[in-house]
C-alpha cells in the first residue's frame, strides 16, 4: 500500500514538473524572440508581386552565384514555382528549372484557366520554428529580423530542415551544415539589395525595412492586398505576397 501511495505521489510530481517544463518550452521562444520588441530599429522584410514575375529565374541563378549554392537542382535558397490551373480544377505545379527549356508549354492550351509564377524563398519568419528546434542555437534570429545559420557551430542534425514548413532549407553537401536564404545579409548590411532583388527585370521582388515609413517596402504594403504563406502555422512570415493565388502553398 505504502509503495503504491509513494508511486502515486511520484507520478503526480512527475506530471506537474512535466507540464511545467512543457509550459516553459512553449513560452520561451515567443518571449525570447518577441516580434513586437523589434519595432524599433531595422526589421527587414520582403515583397513579391506575383503578377509581375515572368518566370525567367534570373533570381535563382543570381542567388546560386552570389551565395555559392551548389548548382545541382536539389539545393535552392530561392526558386520559382509555376502554377497552371486548368478548367477542370486540376492544378499543375512545377519548379522552374534554371534553364529556359524547363518552362512547360501551356499558353496555347485552351483548357488552362489561369497560370502564374510564384517566387519562393525563406520567409524569415518572425516566429521561426527552425530557430526553436535547433539543439545548439546554430540557427538564430538577428536583431533586424533575419534568420541565419552559424556554419561553425551547426552540428548537421537537420532538425531545422524538418521544422521549416516551407521547404526553405537544405543540407549543404560540402559544409554538411544547414543552409538557406539569408536575405543576402552580407550585402544588406552594407546597404546593398539582395542579389535576387537586384537582378529581377520586372521588380517582382522588393526588399526593405518594414519599420521605415517611406520606402519601396512601405509603399508595397500600402498599395497591395497582402498575403503570406501558411498563415495558420503562426510562423509570422516576413515575405509578403501581393496577388497570391489560393492554390499556392
Amino acid at each position: 500500500m505504502d509503495g503504491r501511495r509513494k508511486f502515486l505521489r511520484n507520478a503526480l510530481a512527475f506530471l506537474v514538473s512535466g507540464s511545467a517544463l512543457g509550459g516553459v518550452l512553449k513560452i520561451l521562444p515567443s518571449s525570447a524572440l518577441a516580434k513586437e520588441a523589434s519595432r524599433t530599429g531595422k526589421w527587414y522584410g520582403f515583397g513579391v508581386s506575383v503578377d509581375k514575375c515572368i518566370g525567367c529565374t534570373r533570381c535563382v541563378e543570381a542567388c546560386k552565384t552570389e551565395n555559392d549554392v551548389p548548382k545541382e537542382p536539389f539545393y535552392f535558397r530561392t526558386w520559382v514555382e509555376r502554377y497552371i490551373i486548368r478548367k477542370d480544377g486540376e492544378v499543375i505545379v512545377k519548379a522552374v528549372e534554371t534553364k529556359p527549356e524547363g518552362v512547360p508549354e501551356s499558353a496555347s492550351d485552351r483548357e488552362v484557366l489561369r497560370s502564374f509564377f510564384v517566387p519562393k524563398l525563406c520567409n524569415q519568419c518572425a516566429d521561426p520554428p527552425c530557430v526553436q528546434v535547433c539543439p545548439v542555437g546554430a540557427t538564430f534570429q538577428t536583431k533586424d529580423g533575419v534568420v541565419l545559420v552559424n556554419e561553425k557551430t551547426c552540428i548537421g542534425c537537420r532538425y531545422c530542415i524538418q521544422a521549416c514548413p516551407y521547404g526553405a532549407r537544405y543540407l549543404h553537401p560540402e559544409t554538411r551544415t544547414a543552409d538557406k536564404c539569408t536575405f543576402c545579409y552580407h550585402r544588406v548590411s552594407q546597404g546593398l539589395l539582395p542579389a535576387c532583388v537586384e537582378v529581377c527585370p520586372t521588380q517582382a521582388r522588393i526588399f526593405g525595412d518594414l519599420n521605415s515609413g517611406a520606402s519601396v517596402m512601405a509603399r508595397f504594403r500600402r498599395m497591395n492586398k497582402i498575403h503570406v504563406l501558411k498563415p495558420a502555422l503562426n510562423t509570422e512570415p516576413k515575405v509578403y505576397y501581393a496577388g497570391l493565388d489560393g492554390e499556392v502553398r
Binding site: 508511486f7 552540428i155 553537401p173
Partner: protein, 422 residues
C-alpha cells in the same frame, strides 16, 4: 562524396510524383533515425517489464526481471550511436551539452539519456547485483574475481541492515524509473510530435503512441530473448512466466492498436488539408510497411494468435510445445511490426511534400553510414553487449527459478541470499 550524393539524388528524380519543393528531394532522416526510436523503445519497454515485478508485484515474471534490466542496459548503451553517426558534424555534438538551446526538444537528449542511464538503470542494476557481486568476488579467482570486485565498488556489507537498504533503494529507483522510462520514450515521441510543419508527425497522441509501442517492443523482445537463451543455457522455459508476460504483452498491443486506430479515425474524420496526400502516400508508398507489416502482420495476426492460444489453453489445455511455438511466432512478428512502425513514422513523415502536392521516395543504400549494413550492425550490437553482460552478470539462477509466486532462493554456492523481493 558530394558527387555520390548528387548521383543518388538524381536517381530519385524520376520517381517523384506530383510537385514537391525542390529542397525536399533528399530524405534527411534515414535508416539511422528509424533505428534510434526502435532502440530507445526497447529500453523503455524492457524496463517497464522489470518494474512489473518490483512495483506491481507480479511474481510470475520474476525470471525475466534481471534479463530485462540487462536488455534495457545493452540497448541503452547503443542508443546514442545512430544519433551521433547521422550528424553532419558528429565531432561538434558536445555543443549540445555546452550550449544547449532550451527551446529545442533535441537538446534535451543528452540530459534525459544521462539521467536514465546513471540515475535509473545503472543504479538499479548495481543494487540488484550488489550482494551477488560480493559473493562472486569472494568465491572466484582470476580476472573475474577482480571484475566483480570492482563492479561491486568494493562494498562488502552483507548485513541485515544493508540488505534492507538495498530493498528500499531498489523500490525507490524503480518508482523513479517508471516515469523516467516514460520520459525517455515519450520524449522521443515529442521530438516528432512537436513539429507543426509536418502533419504526419504533429499530433499530441504521438508521444503516447510511442510509449505503448515501446512497451510492446520491449516486452516482446525480452520474451523472445528468454525463449532463445533459456534452452541455450540448458534451462527449461518457465511457461507460467511466459504465459503471464504474454498476457501483459497482449493488453499492451491492444492499447497500442486502439491508440493508433483513434489517431487514424481522427485524421480521416477531420479530413484536413493534408488528407489527400497522406492517403495517397499510405496507399502507394507505405502500403507494404504500414498496412501489411505494421498492422496486419505486426498487430492483428499476433493478437489473433495469442487470443486463440488463450482460449484453447483454458478449454483444451493446449499442448505446451505448441503454445511455445505460437508465442515465439507472435513475439517475432511483433518485433517486425514495431520496427515497421518506426519506419512509417520517420520515413513516412518525409515522403510527402509540405506543399501537400507530391511524394518523393526513399532509396535505401546498402553500404555507407546511412546504409542497411550499418543499421544491421547497430541492431546486432546490443545483442553482443547483452551476451557480454550475461557473462559478467549472470541472471541464470533467477531465470531458472520457479516463478510460481513463492520466494525465490539463490543457488547455495553463489552466496545463497534471497533474490530481491518486490
Amino acid at each position: 562524396m558530394t558527387n555520390e550524393i548528387f548521383k543518388s539524388l538524381s536517381e530519385i528524380l524520376p520517381q517523384i510524383t506530383g510537385f514537391i519543393y525542390p529542397n525536399e528531394i533528399e530524405i534527411h532522416w534515414g535508416m539511422l533515425i528509424v533505428v534510434y526510436p526502435y532502440i530507445t523503445g526497447v529500453v523503455a519497454g524492457a524496463f517497464i517489464l522489470a518494474s512489473l515485478v518490483k512495483v506491481f508485484n507480479v511474481k510470475e515474471v520474476q525470471p525475466l526481471y534481471r534479463l530485462s534490466l540487462l536488455t534495457a542496459l545493452s540497448y541503452l548503451l547503443v542508443a546514442p550511436l545512430p544519433l551521433l553517426s547521422h550528424l553532419g558534424h558528429p565531432e561538434r555534438s558536445y555543443e549540445m551539452f555546452l550550449t544547449p538551446q532550451p527551446s529545442s526538444a533535441m537538446a534535451m537528449f543528452g540530459f534525459v539519456y544521462a539521467w536514465y542511464l546513471m540515475a535509473v538503470l545503472l543504479l538499479e542494476i548495481w543494487f540488484v547485483y550488489r550482494t551477488d557481486l560480493i559473493a562472486w568476488a569472494e568465491s572466484e579467482s582470476g580476472p573475474m574475481k577482480w571484475i566483480h570486485k570492482v563492479l561491486s565498488l568494493f562494498s562488502k556489507d552483507r548485513s541485515e541492515g544493508a540488505l534492507a537498504f538495498d530493498h528500499k533503494a531498489l523500490k525507490t529507483i524503480t518508482i523513479v524509473g517508471i516515469p523516467s522510462a516514460f520520459l525517455l520514450h515519450g520524449y522521443v515521441g515529442f521530438i516528432f510530435g512537436s513539429i507543426k510543419a509536418n502533419p504526419w508527425w504533429s499530433s499530441v497522441l504521438i508521444p503516447i503512441v510511442f510509449l505503448f509501442s515501446a512497451i510492446v517492443s520491449g516486452v516482446a523482445l525480452v520474451i523472445l530473448l528468454y525463449m532463445v537463451i533459456t534452452p541455450l543455457t540448458g534451462g527449461k522455459i518457465n511457461m507460467k512466466c511466459v504465459d503471464k508476460a504474454v498476457d501483459f504483452l497482449f493488453y499492451a498491443v491492444i492499447v497500442d492498436f486502439s491508440l493508433e486506430l483513434v489517431d487514424f479515425i481522427h485524421r480521416v474524420y477531420q479530413s484536413e488539408e493534408e488528407i489527400k496526400i497522406l492517403s495517397e502516400m499510405v496507399m502507394n508508398k507505405l502500403f507494404m510497411s504500414l498496412v501489411i507489416i505494421q498492422v496486419l502482420l505486426g498487430m492483428i495476426l499476433p493478437l489473433g494468435i495469442i487470443s486463440v492460444t488463450k482460449i484453447f489453453k483454458r478449454r483444451f489445455s493446449l499442448n505446451e510445445d505448441l503454445r511455445k511455438m505460437l508465442y515465439f511466432i507472435s513475439v517475432l512478428l511483433i518485433q517486425f511490426g514495431i520496427f515497421a512502425t518506426r519506419w512509417n513514422v520517420v520515413i513516412g513523415g518525409q515522403m510527402f511534400s509540405k506543399s501537400f502536392r507530391g511524394l518523393t521516395t526513399y532509396k535505401m543504400e546498402i553500404g555507407g553510414i546511412e546504409g542497411l549494413l550499418y543499421a544491421l550492425v547497430l541492431l546486432v550490437l546490443p545483442i553482443v553487449i547483452l551476451t557480454v553482460l550475461l557473462k559478467i552478470l549472470p541472471p541464470w539462477k533467477e531465470m531458472k527459478g520457479e516463478g510460481n509466486g513463492k520466494e525465490l532462493t539463490g543457488e547455495a554456492p553463489l552466496g545463497g541470499m534471497h533474490a530481491p523481493e518486490a
